[in-house]
Amino acid sequence: MTFDRREFLKISAGAGAVAVAGLSGCATSVASARPKVVVVGAGFGGSTFARYLKMWEPKAEITLIEPNDKFTSCPFSNTVLAGINQMEDITFGYDHIKKVVDAWVQDTVTAIDTTKRIVTTAGGKTFAYDRLVLAGGIELLFDKVQGYTAEAQKTIKHAWKAGPDQTGVLRKQLEAMPDGGTFVMSVPMAPYRCPPGPYERACMVATYFKKAKPKSKIIVLDGNPDIASKKGLFLAAWKKHYGYGTDNSMIDYRPNNMPRAVDPVKMMVGTEFDDVKGDVINVVPPMQAASICDLAGVRVGLDGKPGPWCAIDYRTFESLTVKNVHILGDSTLTNFPKSGSVANNTGKMCASAIAELLNGREPDAAPVVTNTCYSASSPDTAFHVATVFRYGEGNKMVAQKGGGVSKEESELEFAYMESWAHNVWADTLGLPADYKFTAKG
């Protein structure tokens, strides 16, 4: 536990500024000066956090550090593989975020000193902080797949971090593939970023093949023993739209088939059982919390030992082991699915908590956060999974009853999915009310 509740209450009965200093070891509160908040990563979590903290506590001096000049959305990137959307439709400028924060730094964080509370970038700049927010997403572990070298990565794309070099290249590879070719894709072991994402990807590539290359096949190598998300809905969609279960199925689904090796020259993927040949290969390696979390020493599990994800206090998203360091989005150890909806939602939850802490007040004792993931099952149908989580005694987020999945795929949900995308992009990036979206659902 990062702070003891009784201790907190005792201290906060005193003067506000002192209370915050006593609580967190922070030197600065809004009562005395402008507390420095450094945010690393301007994805779904970091951008949303920065935008909302500025709204809720304008005195916070926010520095946002991000290497990319543009935001490319992973949500909807599978529709680019289908040919429903183009890369431009899921790519956005950071114009509004740049205006909102006190300093926008286009750079990569390379070192974090949590004792002196200083962050250093590749460009050699340093930034002092009172509160540090790490929203770096995921680190992909290429060395867990034999042969997945830097050279191999030129041919084999994961497209699990969307961008022109990943999603864009994979789409071009699919376009260049002859009809009758084989697309081999993989599903990492849970927990991974976007549980329904790989199965949606199979639907979207099948959508493209059905239209442009009907003799082609998709082999899905799943490291998990079964479809890890929305199983019934995906199976129904695969049957209805892509012949699954018949001799003519476009999708060949293989559970318990973890890719262990790749060969970009022979174009093969090796599992424990088989060597599978493909014309286009798309392997998503295992993953863990972004490497910045390790730089800060917060990639630590509930047992206090190093682990793949970061254990946090769910009321504040502060690390359980290092004070004044908060972690957001996919990097956290939680029972939430790793989704853009959750990263957006918890970005606000963390902003709300930090706004309270900077004012010497206690953060919400029982915050509620929600997840909803829409998946496209065909060019006009979609379905969802939705859950509400509420803080419970002993640092738990408890899934509330009533959550679950759509009864069936529908065109109505395809329209809602498109609206969701526009709204989550607008909310994350602060897009103006008259922003002209071009992405179709």
Partner: protein, 100 residues
Amino acid sequence: MKKSLAFALIAAGVLGAVAQAQAVDTRARFMAANCAYCHGPDGKSRGAIPSLAGLDKGYFVDQMKAFRDGSRPNTVMSKHAQGYTDAEYAALGAWFAAIK
């Protein structure tokens, strides 16, 4: 008595400001922001999902109850509505009703 109107206005102004400062229900503010990833920032939606900004509080609370008990057909809202209490419906309703 001539001063009374001016005094009343000043008093109202001061009290109004104090009331407003106290009125920021930070819990409702965050909970309402929870809905933004579908209903848009400040409950102003782009596209097919309805906006929440400016909805009448009574109407809002009735809809949440109807989603919860299933009497209003819906795709996703029953799942969200079941996660909140009646008191939270009221706080959320007041929050969205106040948005212009």
